[in-house]
Chain length 357, copies 2
DNA sequence: TTGTAAGCGTTATCAA
DNA sequence: TTGATAACGCTTACAA
């Protein structure tokens, strides 16, 4: 195995005593090769530790059989599940996956998309909200996975945030909670999750205070405390101006609990925010879930730890990935195909932060 | 921008009215090209939205300028920081980074290393403990980042686990703790961290009960409870047979706290285990850090959340990445260079789970 | 400073 | 079923 230069197809052909065309046929598993020659070639390949050069293959071949995956940020763990799904639908179909986050090869390429174009990928998967400055040529098949809008002509496969928000509300109401709170931001996902949550409450005959933007005084005087008797459900929503983080989730919840001490269940637009919510609950000397139930969104690994044990909405990233791969394949087959938006139904994972009231 | 086939160097040459060699020279920023021609070429490139084919470039060129990074698992978040460091030392030097985890293109390639060999990468970074079956040809420059051993001939850049373990002990002792516990497994990293912790205790004049393997009865009868008066420090270590997880960390700690109720500080071999430790402490009705202090290792994102706020040892993955890139570059320059092992000094990040006794 | 021409390691198109 | 031979898009001597 004293590797000097890697063996080429010529070396294999010479060693097997055949032409390089024949070697190429064997490589492509052509059925019309005699068993004898085939084994001779295979033996030579093994002996020489030969491996086709991907550069030569994609240069000479008609297709690169490569798909580029653009991640918004490697830190967003959800891409792990997304990749699992993509592998199922793409890799198993003989496509090679190349992943890059927004910064992976900047400096060499202007953007990960640029790099993929240089590689002559056959399609691109954009994970998360597509950046506006991600210039993808019109002729390149693209699918947006997990994000919405952005590229009009692209297929989209995303979580059904509305359904997820509604699930959160239904779960809490089923547990007997009637005074609900919401903490989220102004991102597209958060807004739709809030709408779903509101719909869940209204479906139960309840009312929701119009989303209040944090920092602005409340215009509406909804009598949440003097609510009608019975099981009437009411909700108060806090929509943060700034990014929703653990920190802002904490301060927003602190305020929410002061202004609405009747709230016994909070739905946070994402898991990290939910951590802030839980800290705020603890700070007031209340316990989760005995005094206040908390639901997050995304079902991140941190929610799944026993220590945190956060009830959360699983956005089914694996299925989103699989679906995205299938859509991309379909578009590569038929580029004229109209772009569609596909929603994946999320599911609620009940853990230790929610309990009956 | 009606892209049909991507433009080639021929198209650019024709449009600019020059030879394709001249275009190539411009691409390589050769200084000996007249300003006039250069702008003509650059204009043509822009107009045609031309992008060199990486396949053709690496096939025709002498070097691929590509480095492969093998991750053990995308779920181990530490690779994010590692990549940051690698970008600094490699990408900024004009190298392209291609990342893959153990499963990324299996089916197409036998292993990520196979894929990289096909791509004719100039070097490979193996992140984490190298798999034994990762067959890397002797002639391929390799550096192991964050793991130890495995490939004898490879340079290694890793966290100084011994120093980290010692830091944990010193931190706790400085806070006044004298009855210390350890929970870890039998992985190389865990064993060394334990050794460092022990050294820290011994340096303070203390003694450590010989690591006890969980499940086996204690052979040694070290009088930890009847310790000499004064500030004598003692430690009890539990070494798990099975993998250290949140679950096993929990059960091991539960037992530790029963058998050694005098323990007021626990050092866990990693952050996830530390979560199990904290659950076990809570289960006994004790509080962190008022009753028991807890230190983790790796400084994972979960430790950094305010909600968890785990004091942890930061293994400085960014620096490991930068160092690994530098070592790899040096080896590519001089393949005969003897392999060395480089240790990066970790640092303790004090948060809310440790307090003075 | 610019152009010509010979590769680089494959696949693909013909003939044989 | 096999083998020439021409691409593929670029780099790189070598000439001019």
């Amino acid at each position: 195995m004293g590797d000097g230069k890697p063996a080429t197809i010529y070396d294999v052909a010479a060693r097997a005593g055949v032409s390089k065309s024949l070697v190429s046929l064997v490589l492509q598993r052509s059925p019309r090769v005699s068993e004898q020659r085939r084994t001779a070639v295979l033996t030579a390949i093994a002996e020489l530790d030969y491996r086709p050069s991907t550069a030569a293959v994609s240069l000479a071949g008609t297709r690169s059989r490569t798909i580029g995956v653009v991640l918004d940020d490697f830190r967003n763990q959800w891409f792990v599940d997304l990749l699992t799904g993509l592998r199922e639908s793409l890799q198993d179909q003989g496509h090679r996956l190349v992943v890059a986050d927004r910064f992976l090869n900047t400096g060499l390429d202007a953007s990960p998309v640029e790099g993929f174009l240089s590689m002559r990928v056959e399609g691109i998967v954009i994970a998360g909200e597509p950046d506006a400055d991600l210039a993808v040529p019109a002729s390149m098949p693209v699918v947006v996975a997990g994000g919405r809008g952005g590229l009009a002509r692209a297929d989209t496969v995303a979580n059904d945030d509305f359904a997820g928000g509604r699930m959160a509300a239904e779960h809490l109401i089923a547990l007997g909670h009637v005074r609900l709170g919401f903490v989220g931001g102004r991102s597209a996902a958060s807004v739709v999750r809030l709408a779903g949550w509101r719909a869940g409450i209204e479906a139960a005959g309840g009312t929701v205070r119009t989303p209040r933007v944090d920092g602005e005084p409340d215009r509406e005087a909804v009598p949440t405390t003097s609510a009608p008797a019975g099981a009437d459900v009411t909700g108060v929503a806090t929509v943060l101006q700034a990014d929703v983080t653990e920190e802002t989730g904490f301060t927003a919840t602190r305020r929410l609990l002061v202004e609405h001490p009747e709230v016994t269940a909070v739905f946070a637009a994402n898991d990290v925010t939910a951590l802030g919510v839980m800290s705020a609950v603890a700070e007031r000397g209340l316990r989760v879930p005995e005094d206040v139930s908390v639901v997050g969104y995304d079902d991140t690994p941190i929610a799944a730890t026993h220590y945190v044990g956060l009830t959360s909405i699983d956005d089914r990233s694996v299925d989103i990935g699989r679906g995205a791969g299938e859509q991309l394949l379909a578009r590569i087959e038929d580029p004229s195909r109209p772009a569609r938006e596909h929603l994946v139904e999320p599911r609620l994972i009940a853990r230790r932060t929610t309990a009956a009231r």
